[in-house]
């Protein structure tokens, strides 16, 4: 089955413990035994951000990774900032996605997002799109079409506030424009102001679900 490696770490002398993300079985850990000893088909294939095909066995929490091969390119094409973004995606998945929950849609979105990070110059837009879809897949989807107080459709020029787990509320001192919300629910055509507003929104919402501990990967973007 297709999979992405979200994280890996050394396990005993020659094995790797990998956190896999698959469409049918969701996220789960697996052990690749003896992989660091092999010369062929070694650990290079099991890297984050590379598509792989895997066969796992075992029913416990940690499976055995019996076979794997690369499904596509074998070079991590993410570089620099895009690579940091990749870590950010993986950290989101590991922190918020419950284990063993199938997420076919999200798997596809994740793959598309990685590709978009490689191709696109507009990283912010790619990330916002992922975040909105990600929240949707988790069942925390944003309300992006109506005012939850009045039940009216959103107006493009109106400012809104967005209490988490509630939805847009029209208020003169809101932080986000109706047009931004509509774009997030639709075609993602955002200008720089819209992108900033969208970032504030997804940050607030994600921070709520992440609880007190902030994301470590954000540190990489700082201090420059």
């Amino acid at each position: 089955m297709p999979a992405f490696v979200l994280h890996r770490r050394a396990y005993s002398n020659h094995s790797l413990l990998v956190e896999l993300f698959t469409p049918d079985q969701g996220r789960f850990p697996a052990i690749a035994r003896g992989i660091m000893k092999r010369k062929r088909q070694g650990s290079g294939v099991l890297q984050s951000f590379l598509p792989v095909l895997v066969r796992c066995s075992g029913r416990g929490e940690v499976r055995n990774l019996n076979e794997f091969e690369s499904a596509g390119n074998t070079v991590v094409a993410l570089q620099g900032r895009a690579l940091y973004c990749g870590f950010y995606l993986n950290e989101l998945l590991i922190r918020l996605l419950p284990r063993d929950d199938p997420h076919q849609q999200l798997f596809q979105v994740y793959g598309e997002t990685l590709n978009a990070l490689v191709d696109s110059g507009d990283i912010e837009l790619v990330l916002r799109r992922f975040e909105v879809r990600f929240l949707e897949a988790l069942g925390f989807g944003l309300i992006l079409d109506r005012d939850t107080e009045m039940g009216e459709p959103l107006k493009a020029n109106q400012l809104y506030d967005y209490p988490v787990e509630h939805g847009p509320v029209a208020t003169p001192d809101g932080f986000i424009l109706g047009s931004t919300l509509l774009a997030l629910g639709g075609d993602f055509s955002l200008d720089s102001q819209g992108l900033r507003q969208a970032r504030t929104l997804t940050r607030r919402v994600l921070a709520h679900y992440l609880g007190g501990r902030p994301l470590k990967s954000r540190e990489l973007f700082r201090s420059r």
Binding site: L6, H7, R9, S12, N13, K39, R40, Q41, G42, G44, V45, Q47, S48, F49, S70, N73, T74, V75, V76, Q79, G80, L83, Y84, G86, F87, Y88, N90, E91, I94, L215, K216, S217, E219, L220, S223, R224
Partner: protein, 198 residues
């Protein structure tokens, strides 16, 4: 609760070594007790001293019992070259090959946000002043070619460039005596994109 017998404590303690399970620990304990008490005493004494006195080099963060490690203190080393590696073991590996005569900086890890390792944890706050004092002309990024290693290399590169330091990355490619047929695609593509005039 009575304390566990000394023998059990010894075996339990030996298991802190990597790759030592209950069985090996038992074997080691019995060996020391039956055949090599002198060696055991020596081990205990040296271990105690080592744990007490070995710290990190002030400059390059590798292990040393002095303030500066032997490599940093050696005036014959070329101080305009600085090689960034992940672990002290890599310093040893490079030193054994005797190809490099500059200095090192040991990160003691790599950027890996998912393990909670950020720029602070790998001592980059100590690398910055080294780069800033102008002595270093070339910074060689010798972190491993894994995703985390690449991210680390990129981060340090960004840090160093504004300071006017030339930044280079070690080459990746086909191992010596290797055969192309058995080399994975990723390595091959690195080898090709990094090919040189011959």
């Amino acid at each position: 609760m009575p304390e566990a017998p000394l023998l059990d404590q010894l075996m339990e303690a030996l298991r802190c070594l990597p790759g030592v399970g209950p069985k090996s620990a038992q074997r080691m304990a019995f060996h020391l007790l039956e055949r090599d008490r002198v060696g055991g005493r020596r081990l205990a004494a040296v271990l105690d001293r080592a744990m007490e006195h070995i710290g990190h080099c002030k400059r390059c963060r590798t292990f040393t019992e002095r303030e500066l490690c032997a490599l940093c203190a050696n005036p014959k080393r070329d101080s305009s070259l600085l090689c960034v590696v992940e672990t002290p073991a890599e310093v040893v590996a490079i030193e054994q090959s005797a190809i490099y005569s500059g200095r090192y900086f040991v990160l003691g890890g790599r950027l890996s946000p998912l393990d909670g390792i950020g720029p602070q944890e790998i001592g980059l706050d100590r690398l910055e002043p080294l780069l800033a004092d102008g002595e270093v002309k070339e910074l060689i990024l010798a972190t491993n070619p894994t995703v985390e290693g690449e991210a680390t290399a990129h981060y340090i590169g960004e840090l160093a460039r504004p300071k006017g330091v030339q930044v280079t990355r070690i080459a990746h490619g086909v191992p010596l005596g290797g055969e192309l047929e058995y080399v994975d695609g990723g390595t091959l593509s690195h080898a090709f994109s990094g090919r040189r005039e011959y």
